[in-house]
Amino acid sequence: MSNILVNAPKTARRGAVIEIKALIMHPMETGFRPGPNGRIIPRNIIERFTATWNGAEIFAMDMSPAIAANPFVSFFAEAKESGTVVLRWTGDEGFVAEQRVDIAVE
């Protein structure tokens, strides 16, 4: 299980632009650093972050080794209909994490 913190409004007016912020625990190991034994620590990063609202993609980004550990993402979306926003992170070593947020649109 991953440690994730999400900040999104529980309710929004129809048509309003809302901000969704998400923070996830992840080492974002670059693959360029030598470990204590002098050998390179294998790369272990999140490669992609996506957000869908009732199944339709509203935001996506690729991540690179230059992004710091425990990455924080903030993006905006238009509140069209009540439903579930699914945030999803995928990466090296089969990493998958998901967080669902329900937003009621009035």
């Binding site: 299980m1 440690n3 994730i4 913190l5 999400v6 900040n7 912020k21 923070l23 996830i24 625990m25 974002m28 710091a68 550990a69 425990n70 924080f72």
Partner: protein, 258 residues
């Protein structure tokens, strides 16, 4: 300069006297006040402060049974919001049946080994930091309140001596930077007053949560002194002195620092 020294002298007098610390003429500054606005906002927002990820993890570990005793912290201590409130504000302290002080990490490790019958967690281990930050977070916004235990006096005194002793190839003492030159800049960074208000901290330079001990080791390496081994009593002595010096300041755990 003289004014500055006087102010710090006064601050130390306040630190030494609980009654005086109450009067509100306190000039002491947490490292928080010396950070830029962006970092202060990051620390203040519980969904942007990366330290809160570790508080969340600590809460999960709090409820997980481990060791030969198959007990979780919660099995004995119940809700941390009740049982751990104010605890971090009075550590390091001397645990029952001992005559030497331990810091909060050390106290948690005692429960790991004696109560849970599990392995001792090594210094800076992620789970140890997460448990520590979870326990310390229960004291956020409470004033630092070191215990009045005369057995601690000698250790505090030792900490004060280390604090004022010149060491390392740069031949500097903690006091030269953190008392005499606090508020001035060192290579573009404001020198803070070194109050342990937010530990464990999320330090952006580390990209990780880290203990007060790790912070102290950074300062020792900075003056090119040889850092004591991780289990050395010198750290606990320094921590005791720093907590005494910060008596009355509010805990911020988990703090964000650059």
């Amino acid at each position: 300069m003289t004014g500055r020294l006087l102010a710090i002298g006064l601050a130390l007098v306040f630190a030494a006297s609980y009654a005086a610390a109450q009067v509100g003429a306190d000039k002491r500054r947490s490292g928080y006040q010396d950070m830029g606005e962006a970092l202060q906002k990051m620390q203040d927002d519980d969904t942007a402060n990366p330290g809160m990820l570790f508080v969340q993890l600590g809460g999960q570990l709090w409820n997980r049974a481990v060791g030969a005793a198959d007990k979780s912290c919660a099995d004995c201590h119940g809700a941390a919001a009740v049982s751990m409130k104010g605890v971090a504000a009075r550590y390091p302290a001397i645990p029952g049946g001992s005559d030497r002080p331990v810091d909060l990490e050390g106290r948690i490790n005692l429960c790991r080994t004696e109560q849970q019958k599990a392995d001792r967690l090594p210094p800076e281990n992620r789970d140890l930091l997460a448990l520590t930050v979870y326990v310390a977070h229960q004291s956020r916004d409470l004033q630092i309140a070191p215990p009045y235990d005369p057995r601690l006096d000698a250790f505090r005194q030792e900490g004060a001596e280390i604090y004022r002793r010149r060491q390392g190839q740069l031949n500097l003492s903690c006091a030269i930077c953190h008392d005499d030159n606090a508020g001035k800049k060192l290579a573009g960074i404001v020198i803070p007053e070194a109050h342990p208000t937010g530990y464990p901290i999320y330090r952006l330079e580390w990209q990780a949560l880290g203990s007060l001990k790790r912070r102290l080791r950074n300062c020792l390496v900075g003056i090119r002194a040889e850092a004591w081994p991780l289990d050395a009593p010198e750290y606990v002595a320094l921590e005791l002195y720093l907590m005494q010096r910060a008596r009355g300041l509010k805990l911020e755990t988990p703090a964000v620092r650059p």
